[in-house]
């Protein structure tokens, strides 16, 4: 038995089996319970990842602007990007590291469920080498495969659809609209690709795994809700994003504007050509309009937002 099997797989398999025993000999309940427990244990990591992703998404429009602005000056672009990360307190590796840490945990759970299910006779024979010498563990095997309408050892179409649906929902919640078309396309691809691929996988794998994926997605949806609300499911979120995007665009434009131009007193008025961009941007009576009116009313030379920066 290798180190991975000994340290990770063996304990998880035995815990799954013991949990089955105490949860009315239901392997389905054991899968759900263990998925919840693991999610609770890695809750800080998950939240860190969600928050990091959220932060990165808010920076994306600003990044797009920087890329557009400094397309020909890579060094300057890198400097500005670094500055932006620093100013916003974001670490670009913030969502990657928790994900990398979580990955072995999910793989271990996945493998443990497959091994414990012992779908083929070879699987049951193979399972014997992972067992601790606890009487409960030996006697309860092979585990019962029936759960609700499912045979956990066989694929199930409704559950595969549920996997796709919950995964889509969770992806959608974690997304926010971006003004960058490239980013939009990538997000759209991820939104559909992942759920479809997992749903397709579930048509081939035992439904015990699908149950694990559905449970994980539901937990992630709950976590995501508490972290970001309904996120990308609510259109107004996208609107706010675009407004902040424009403000940032103004700021970096004005950083490059000569002083005499900045002193006109109307220097932050949007050019007409860009007003139609974005979703939910021009809601009448919204905060943006109020702010706009307030700025227009300011007398020349009193030092607006831009002056203060200088």
């Amino acid at each position: 038995m290798n180190v991975w099997d000994l340290i990770i797989l063996q304990p998880v398999i035995n815990i799954l089996i013991v949990m089955s025993h105490y949860l009315a000999s239901s392997f389905g309940l054991a899968i759900i319970a263990l998925t919840i427990i693991v999610n609770v244990l890695i809750y800080p990591l998950t939240m860190k990842q969600i928050n990091a992703m959220k932060g990165m998404q808010t920076l994306q429009p600003k990044m797009a602007e920087l890329q557009k602005k400094y397309a020909k000056d890579r060094q300057k672009l890198a400097q500005e990007q670094m500055r932006l990360y620093k100013e916003s307190g974001m670490n670009p590796a913030g969502c990657l590291v928790p994900m990398l840490v979580q990955m072995p945990i999910w793989i271990a759970l996945f493998q443990s469920i497959i091994l414990s299910l012992a779908v083929a006779p070879e699987g049951l024979l193979n399972l014997a080498r992972y067992l601790y010498s606890w009487p409960i563990v030996y006697s309860i095997l092979p585990l019962g495969k029936d759960f609700l309408w499912l045979n956990l050892a066989e694929p199930d179409m409704p559950l595969a659809i549920l996997v796709g649906a919950t995964m889509w929902l969770q992806q959608k919640m974690s997304m926010s609209a971006s003004a960058d078309p490239k980013q939009q396309m990538q997000s759209r691809m991820m939104l559909w690709m992942m759920p479809l691929m997992f749903a397709f996988l579930c048509l081939s794998f035992p439904s015990g795994l699908a149950l694990f994926w559905v449970t994980s997605s539901v937990i992630r949806i709950v976590m995501q809700y508490f972290a970001t609300g309904w996120g990308g499911l609510v259109p107004s979120t996208a609107g706010k994003q675009v407004v902040s995007d424009r403000r940032y665009r103004h700021r970096i434009t004005l950083q490059e504007t000569p002083l005499k131009d900045a002193d006109t007193g109307a220097d932050i008025v949007e050019p007409r050509s860009t007003q139609g961009e974005g979703l939910g941007y021009q809601k009448p009576g919204g905060k943006w309009q109020d702010r706009f009116r307030a700025i227009r009313r300011q007398p020349r030379g009193t030092g607006g937002h831009q002056r203060k920066r200088r």
């Binding site: 990360y85 012992a118 014997a128 996988l201 081939s204």
Partner: protein
Amino acid sequence: MWFRHNRVLLGKTLFLLVILLMVGLAGLGCVRGMQSVGWSGGAVSGGTLFVGSKEGRLVAVNIADESRQWSEPLKASTPAGGFGCAPAAGGGGCATAPAGVAIYGTPAVSGDLAYIGGYNGKIYAFSSSSLATRWVYPREGNLEPIVGGLTVAQGKVYFGCSDGKVYALDAATGDKQWEFETGDKIWSTPAIDGDTLFIGSLDNKLYALSATDGSQRWEFKTGGAIVSTALVQDNTVYIGSFDRYLYAVNAIDGSLRWKFMGENWFWTKPIAYDNTVYAGCLDGKVYALQASSGGEVAEFNLESPVSSSPVMVDSSIIFASQKGVIYSLDTGSSELKRLIDIEEAVYGPLCASEGVVYIHTQNLTLHRVNANTGTILTSISLKSKE
């Protein structure tokens, strides 16, 4: 530092990771215990060895000239899933597995018929000379997967099925004679002694049934599932269970005579010789126990789980460990001799004829080892010519 400067690259990396994860998951599923490959042992009759191959065919090997015949492949009950890994396909549906129906049970030969059960839930009777199909049970549809072997006696074919039933069929026609339902799947091979059939079930029980009409004589409950085949000798039934005990049960009334605890499951059929019972265990040991009391005489460490049923050659018992090491245990001197390492996993029962041990591995190969000298003879490929 590089991804700080390139957000697009970061996104792509994440995406690639996801794809890798998914490919890994798919690959993993195919490798780790999801595919049914089969571990059929061999049965020798009239100079011919019959074995179920990984391709889902019955293969007849002429022991003298090594010529081979293949039956038509058994047909899978359902197509494989999207990635080809659906477990209920009746066979190794995985892309890395054979296309055929898995065969776990050892064929049975009686008269001019050779019988075999498939993981597709069908029993087949072939002509033992031409391997032409004589009958199939059930004629329409499929039963649940058949994992245990078949036993032919008194003109009937007996087998257990994953639907939890024991079936008795007319050996000549395949007509059902009777069936008996247990509480869970049956992966065990029936053992017949006189007019009584003994079979274990995953419902933890050992059943004694009338071989004539399938009526229950008694049942004996153990602490775990039973997949091993019973050994019946001197009115005692020896059978292993998943509760890690080897049981000796009175064959007449089903009362417990003794039980012996190993360190893992007893998966294989034990063997008895000269008042001693030899039982291989998944803890990697072979236990020699007194047949009358269950007292431990000796234990032999094979250093790898023992899941293939042993075979007797003269006064030696030949064991194979899962790692593929073949041992000879001299019952007189209680000396364990390592014969050879065939370096392939061995799960299925061993078979012997005229001093030669036949070992069917999952690599479509029939290995041959001289039981006395340990010399390995030329192996025989079971791969069909089609």
